[in-house]
């Protein structure tokens, strides 16, 4: 059982990475909107005690994606941030059901799940585009890109999640 979870997460890491850099970053809907589906790895990572490993693997995922997309360290920074603050949002979205050891995303209420997904995706994209644009005079641009990309990412993430949810560990 334990090995199964490790295996699923390793597969998810490489699968989402490949899909992200070869397919999803080339969609360019109405010119510039791409879904960042690799966030599913961070969102669905089991809520275990080993947060060190979790934060580190999120960083690794972000850095590799940065290397592929030539984006400096923007994806890495945003990923590390949401990996670090994730427990807060687990608590906020799932309330009493949140338990360090035994939370299973497939068992949770779907509204709760939407709130959890959406809030972390929004924070991730806001950090990402703030760092990409790197100019606080262009706040409107940052907010607009955050809004569009988050919506697209949220949609695609939910689609992928519901496609594979029967296999969820």
């Amino acid at each position: 059982m334990m090995n199964n979870i490790v295996f699923v997460n390793i597969m998810r890491f490489f699968g989402l990475l490949t899909l992200q850099v070869l397919v999803c970053s080339n969609i360019n809907l109405i010119g510039y909107i791409n879904p960042n589906i690799y966030l599913l790895f961070i969102l669905l990572y089991p809520a275990s005690n080993n947060r060190l490993l979790f934060i580190f693997s999120s960083f690794l995922l972000g850095v590799v994606i940065d290397a592929f997309l030539d984006s400096g360290g923007t994806h890495a920074a945003a990923s590390v941030l949401i990996a670090y603050i994730r427990p807060l949002f687990l608590k906020f979205s799932f309330g009493a059901a949140y338990d360090y050891q035994s939370i299973k995303f497939s068992n949770t209420n779907f509204t709760q799940r939407y709130i959890y997904f959406l809030s972390l995706i929004l924070i991730h994209h806001f950090t990402l585009f703030s760092l990409v644009v790197f100019n606080y005079n262009k706040m409107l641009l940052i907010v607009r890109q955050t809004f569009y990309s988050s919506a697209f990412t949220f949609l695609v993430c939910l689609l992928i999640y519901s496609l594979f949810s029967s296999k969820e560990a």
Binding site: N28, G31, L52, F68, L69, A77
Partner: protein, 268 residues
């Protein structure tokens, strides 16, 4: 000391987070400032070969279009050859030496603020940094990173790109940059307001730098306005190249590059 260790162990998650976050931020700032990220860019060996693999599949979908482009180019070159006057005067002093190296685009982006292109040529093929990249239609960018088998091009669709160009008709020169708004339009700055502009005029490379030879087409003027201080023009240039579907490009190698580069270094 003991207390310090205890503090780190107690807050190890926060410490790790802070460490990784600051690494990521410093990578970001570095990439904004001078493009010195040595390891983590798409000319890296592993990343380049993965993009190569992906390209070997996707290039089949573009074959028809690419064939058409090559045919067009062939016919253009042929017609130039046939129409060449027999006694063309060649000035041996002014003649510059440029070699062309064909390359294939492995990765291209055009929707970000800073766009880069990865090509399948590297140090092994004699490609170095600061070589220019063009297609049969116009300019693409300048190489800014090389590894042994791959290189990365600073696309003209990059807010850090600065290329010296001129107006074909009047020979007034200025700097080409990009405001990161549209993939088809770049901006030409530093042209004096005395110059008479016409929409539709051609813009070509100036040939002042050792990167590009003179008179490579860039685009046409699509609109112009005065800048904030009302003494220089900001000209929107519509590119001849479609930067969104590059496949075959040429790397321009100036055989006198090192000599010219050495000369320019004495300025500083």
């Amino acid at each position: 000391m003991q207390q310090l260790f205890n503090f780190f162990i107690k807050n190890k998650i926060f410490v790790l987070f802070l460490l990784l976050f600051s690494i990521a931020i410093s990578l970001t700032i570095k990439s904004h400032q001078f493009h010195r990220t040595k390891l983590l860019n798409s000319s890296n060996y592993i990343i380049g070969s993965i993009y190569g693999l992906s390209n070997s599949v996707s290039q089949y979908f573009h074959l028809v279009k690419e064939n058409k482009l090559l045919l067009e180019e062939n016919s253009k070159i042929k017609s130039q050859l046939f129409n060449q006057t027999k006694y063309s005067t060649i000035d041996p002093v002014l003649e510059q030496h440029f070699n062309l190296n064909p390359a294939i685009v492995y990765k291209n982006s055009y929707s970000l603020k800073n766009n880069y292109i990865t090509l399948n040529k590297g140090l092994k093929d004699g490609i170095n940094e600061d070589y220019g990249v063009v297609t049969s239609k116009g300019i693409v960018g300048v190489i800014d990173k090389t590894s042994s088998k791959y290189c990365r091009v600073l696309s003209i669709l990059n807010s850090n790109s600065k290329i010296n160009v001129k107006l074909k008709k009047t020979n007034h020169f200025g700097t080409l940059s990009w405001d990161s708004k549209s993939a088809g339009i770049v901006q030409l700055n530093d042209i004096q307001d005395l110059v008479k502009l016409t929409i539709g005029d051609s813009v070509t490379t100036s040939g002042f730098s050792s990167i590009f030879p003179a008179n490579i087409p860039v685009g046409t003027i699509s609109s112009y306005r005065l800048n904030d201080t009302k003494d220089l023009y900001v000209i929107d240039v519509k590119l001849f190249n479609d930067m969104t579907n590059l496949e075959h490009v040429y790397i321009i190698k100036n055989t006198d590059f090192n000599e010219i580069d050495n000369l320019n270094q004495y300025d500083e």
